[in-house]
Symmetry: D2
Subunit: 213 residues, 4 copies
């Protein structure tokens, strides 16, 4: 039995993406008796659907947790719902696509995550990891991964539980942003979280989910 | 030769204070050849002045770095200036004192920190630690420590370089606040920083200061 | 032909609710040739559904715009989507109900607003009114109004276009919150918007919607 | 007897500056029996000192209130203290000067405003205008005006009461920023305040100050 964890490549102004690190860290681990496959997704609206559907088809996972980075977030955000919208807002994807208020699929307006979202937040907080339930994953590729996996699971009648976890900047990304913002002269700094804590959070989310099944 | 580092006890709704942890961690360490004395201050406008002046008199330190916790701060904030104001705003101190727009001393409106504030921020960012220069330490006991030490150093004509470092919540404090805010149901979470990173930041601030003298 | 505009009564710590004012102001007006019925809803999960369905049944409106106040919002927020969730987070309703991660109806996970949300934001900005598209209306009674009206419209196969507009605090609510936060001593102040601007924004949202049909 | 009110010209990305509007509106008014001279200052570190000192010398005002715009501020901020620092942080002035951690004058670290800052905030809140006391005016030209006038008043032994009021964006500036941020697609919007309220706030600040003398 397999668990799939995805992260994203760097994009926009970011030199690194903590979620690629988390996916790589967890790849090959065994969590609660299941082996984890970590994969790094392209930041590209056009190709991410194929990539997600291939991961589903290849591994038929028990649990599928996608992750993405959220500038400005101070906590691990467990997303409740993915919406049928693709909009790049201010940041076209890595191949220049800039969808505006488009639909992701011929599907319903939204899908709820099938992770036990409240229990995951409770368990993270009990471990001292800052976390919250979130009611919007935005409309960029993070929301795309949440919606697209849920849509494929429903369509193909799989048992896979799936959902999305937004992760904060790593401290080094926040330090880089601080330099951009002239923090040495009083400019602002975005919130961040240690990478080891981020990885631990995703591992715990998997454990809580498997424990609830 | 000695370096003094102070933190504060818990106060208000906080069960622990990361700055007490940082002061305890650094107590007894040798940093850049100087021995560090870590001390935890009372959260009390009435007694903190005596405590700070005793530390100065007892150790005649080369460097005196005070630290305090700042709810809502995502970065290590190196304070530029302390003002001659005591105001508890919304949080009376631990013995119930609630000063309102009072003066701390018969002294000037403000003192600048004599730490090399810009260089400290630069060095922290170079180490990947989120940090910024800050233009206000507020008017509570954090500002008090900054102003009071500088005032005593000037009055007594000491060589001591002194300043103030605001530190973020620890992850466990942020998780506790998240529970208060019903983050499991969508409530908010304050930013935080790993305690080891906080301790490393203060150690680096001392090193940069000693290296600049 | 009729347009319905709803606001909410005061709730929680708020002595007044700007959205009740807006609904009362617009009640009886003619906008783009249609007469507006303004109604003030109870802040009560149990009774709001009946009230919304009665307004739909009684007026069979062309357009149904619900409004609610959003603490912390600096702009008129045109909501894109309502989700099938009732959760009071930190503020039980006015009769003490405190639902936690409940479903609003036996319906889909979400409905999109059928207002022309992008065009409304564009037209508001062209009039110099701060506005944005929003991807979450939360899980309290604001989201409830958005979801419940859309659900009833779909179920009953009505032509009504409906959606939700989050409005900021009025200046007087922000001033009251500032007093609570000890802003006289340095405490914080939430953003706000003049009531006349709020009313103008909702009138414009109706005009843009009618103009798009 | 005369009151001087200053605002600033547009700068950086701003097409207009609400504080220039406020200064122009109040120019020629009589407030509490004194005639108001409104002046618009250049956004230039090099020339603003001469301009401020000329206004002091020409009018020998009873009260000198400088104003400037603060992106991100939701309230009228009555500044408590100006510091002896010039730093343009991320925005060089209108003639390209970009001072970094420089001193404004051969003077003390800071001056307190001599407006009755707490009473002004109290009176604004009593009128329903969102306002707060602020402990930092930053290090750009706003702080410069506060420090420079106070320094000249002290040096020349004038009776003039002086201070600084930070004003929010106007709604039209916030709408322009919203367009920049793609708010139509979900981007963010800064807080704002109606220009008439801004003007009223500065008039009230003058009245409270004159009433306290």
């Amino acid at each position: 039995m397999t668990v799939v964890v995805t992260g994203y490549e760097p994009f926009g102004e970011l030199d690194t993406n903590p979620t690629a690190h988390v996916a790589a860290e967890l790849d090959g681990e065994t969590v609660a008796g299941e082996s984890v496959v970590g994969a790094v997704l392209p930041v590209a609206f056009d190709s991410v659907t194929d990539r997600l559907e291939s991961l589903l088809a290849e591994h038929d996972p028990t649990v599928f947790v996608s992750t993405g980075v959220a500038r400005g977030s101070a906590a691990v955000r467990i997303e409740r719902v993915g919406v049928n919208v693709a909009d790049a807002v201010t940041t076209p994807d890595n191949v220049g696509a800039d969808p505006r208020n488009e639909r992701l699929a011929d599907g319903p307006a939204a899908y709820f995550s099938t992770l036990p979202v409240e229990s995951v937040v409770t368990d993270l907080l009990d471990e001292g990891i800052p976390a919250c339930l979130s009611n919007t994953a935005g409309t960029h590729l993070c929301n795309d991964a949440l919606y697209t996996v849920r849509h494929a699971v429903e369509r193909d009648d799989r048992e896979t539980r799936s959902g999305f976890v937004h992760l904060p900047f790593s401290p080094s990304l926040a330090a880089a942003a601080a330099r951009e913002n002239e923090a040495t002269r009083g400019g602002s700094v975005p919130p961040s979280m240690a990478l080891t804590t981020q990885t631990r959070a995703v591992r715990l989310a998997i454990e809580t989910t498997l424990g609830s099944m």
